[in-house]
Amino acid sequence: MELLVASAIGLLTAGGVYLILRLRTFPVIVGLSLLSYAVNLFIFASGRLAIGLPPIWSKTAAGYTDPLVQALVLTAIVISFGMTAVIVMMGLGAYLEAGDDRIDIDRSAAEENEDARR
């Protein structure tokens, strides 16, 4: 199981990093989402992997798994969800304003130089 979780985190991270290096807004946002999935899994694993154990102490269960990481993951999920919504809205706004969804400000920088020359 360790191998499975570790390779899943690794794959998600690698895919996420590849995508956020792209030039267009959409792949970047997808890449950020992949990264946030990876980090959620990673946080979950940081409380040690356990199967079939309750997150609270009980007399009948054999043991318990760390409940704190579950709270941390919940917080992280909520925050990354909200942040993704924000960047989608801003990306959309930038697309509607500028007419393209390139993430770099190459053209406007060129314009600035033009403005400087004028």
């Binding site: 990264l35 980090v39 694993a45 924000v86 930038a94 993430i103 400000i105 400087a116």
Partner: protein
């Protein structure tokens, strides 16, 4: 338990919500809320700083859960100082935004501003590493809104870059926290300090990885090379008052570095040693050089001030990397100075650019109304930014030079030469903006101008007055800061205030 500790977080949260819900369509009411909130915050910060000076570190247990199980807020001298600095900055910036009408150019300026203050205050107060992440996100999400306030193509594009970059930073923050948690089993800062100090040899590598990732996150916030490149585009495209408020956002990175790497990973820790000082020093020096070159080569006023902000962060991190009593004292003094000076400079640049119509530094344009007054302000701001006498930047740099005397003499030529570069850069820009423009006759205005508002000048004057205050009261201030730093380097009272279970 002192319940006032949580007030700097609650007050802006409530006011921000009020500004959205009640004052949605009433800009006047929003302004009253914004101004009242920042005033109240300033008073609150003064009260808290007095109380912590008298009683030492105090801990607020949220929900009365004992540490390390619950989240704690810790009020010590450093956090109280940062609260006061935030409030002292927020007040002039709010005044400026109201005076220039920036707050009416988009929606919810004051609500976002209050939420930003909430995030800043929370980040300064919290004594829990994961809670620090949460407050970082609070201040970031508010800053995204503020950054694109007023809209416009370039601003939105720069905003998307800024958000994407910070989201990567947040992910890295989570990776770092999870790594640290998996080694130590706690995220309470005081508890972490105890656990990391007695870490078994086998866990040292993993904690080093976590700590370096954490440093990278704070470096992103503090615009340290090699992760500084988000700053010029963001600050240059943000509205003037927002860029001025953002001056304290980079300092959140500096504050976190000071807090985490004196409390949790001090140089005496066997697991990490002096590796962080060794990383921060070259990065700080390169940041400083890059910032100074940027000031010299910038093609617009906004970018020039943004690069000056980068240079000041480089100076600040260089001072932090000393990790000694004198070094950290100098760093704190310079932190106060550079926040106020950067903010003042952004406001002055906004004044000049809004009258001139363009921020381009390629050619002189006809002179504008009040250009004499703005030129004088620009002159004062540039003196402060470049670190020339008689303003506090000079004293700050002097303290840093003094702290690095001896075995860190490499710092001296870098700081002195970059100061010269910045003086040249500012002089060039100032002469183009104000002197050369006075040679060109002003075009007669087709429509009569509104009478100029006095409020923006009051705001800038307030910031410059605070800088003068820093200079005049430098003696007592550095003495107070010295005690603060002594408290940082001997964190026993801070840890004891958390009332951690013995042997746990």
């Amino acid at each position: 338990m002192n319940h006032w500790i949580i007030a700097p977080v609650l007050l802006p949260a409530v006011l921000g919500a009020l500004a959205v819900l009640v004052a949605r369509h009433d800009i006047l009411l929003q302004r009253v809320i914004g101004l009242g909130g920042t005033l109240a915050l300033a008073v609150l910060a003064l009260v808290l700083i007095c109380s912590t000076t008298l009683t030492g570190p105090e801990v607020y247990f949220l929900g009365d859960w004992p540490a390390p199980f619950g989240i704690v807020l810790v009020l010590d001298r450093l956090s109280a100082l940062m609260l006061l600095l935030t409030a002292a900055l927020a007040l002039p910036v709010t005044l400026y935004a109201i005076g220039t009408g920036w707050d009416a150019r988009g929606r919810h300026f004051h609500a976002l501003f209050q939420f930003q203050l909430m995030g800043l205050n929370g980040a300064f107060l919290t004594g829990d590493a994961f809670n620090l992440f949460v407050f970082f996100e609070v201040l970031l999400i508010a800053s995204y809104g503020l950054m694109i306030h007023g809209g416009g193509r370039n601003r939105l594009k720069a905003g998307v870059q800024y958000v994407a970059f910070n989201l990567v930073g947040s992910t890295l923050f989570l990776f770092a926290l999870a790594t640290i948690y998996s080694v130590t089993g706690t995220l309470n800062m005081a508890d972490l300090a105890q656990k990391v100090a007695t870490l078994p040899e086998g866990d040292a590598a993993l904690i080093r990885v976590g700590a370096v990732m954490l440093l990278l996150v704070f470096a992103i916030k503090g615009a340290l090379v090699p992760v500084q490149f988000w700053l010029p585009g963001t600050y240059a495209n943000a509205p003037g008052p927002v860029a001025a408020l953002f001056a304290v956002m980079t300092k959140v990175g500096a504050y976190s570095v000071i807090r985490v790497y004196t409390l949790i990973f001090p140089p005496v820790t066997p697991a990490t040693g002096t590796m962080f000082a060794d990383l921060i020093l070259p990065a700080g020096l390169v940041t400083l050089i890059l910032g100074a070159l940027g000031v010299l080569g910038a093609r617009s006023v906004g970018r020039m001030v943004a690069f000056a902000a980068i240079a000041s962060m480089g100076t600040l991190f260089t001072a932090i990397s000393v990790f000694s009593q004198a070094g950290t004292t100098a760093a704190l003094y310079y932190l106060l100075h550079s926040t106020l000076a950067t903010a003042a400079m952004f406001l002055i640049a906004d004044l000049a650019v809004s009258r001139r119509g363009s921020g381009s530094l390629a050619e002189a344009r006809p002179s504008t109304p009040q250009s004499g007054l703005i030129a004088a302000l620009f002159f004062a701001g540039a003196i402060a930014m470049a670190g020339m006498p008689p303003l506090s930047g000079f004293l700050g740099k002097l303290l840093i030079l003094d702290a690095t005397r001896g075995d860190m003499m490499l710092v001296w030529p870098v700081i002195l030469i970059t100061s010269l570069l910045m003086i040249v850069g500012f002089a060039q820009a100032g002469s183009l903006l104000f002197w050369k423009s006075s040679a060109i006759p002003a075009e007669p205005d087709p429509e009569p101008e509104d009478p100029p508002a006095a409020l923006p000048f009051v705001a800038v004057g307030l910031l410059l007055m605070l800088l003068t205050g820093l200079t005049v009261f430098a003696g007592p201030l550095t003495a107070w800061l010295g005690t603060t730093v002594a408290e940082l380097h001997a964190p026993a009272p801070y840890i004891a205030a958390n009332a951690l279970p013995v042997g746990g």
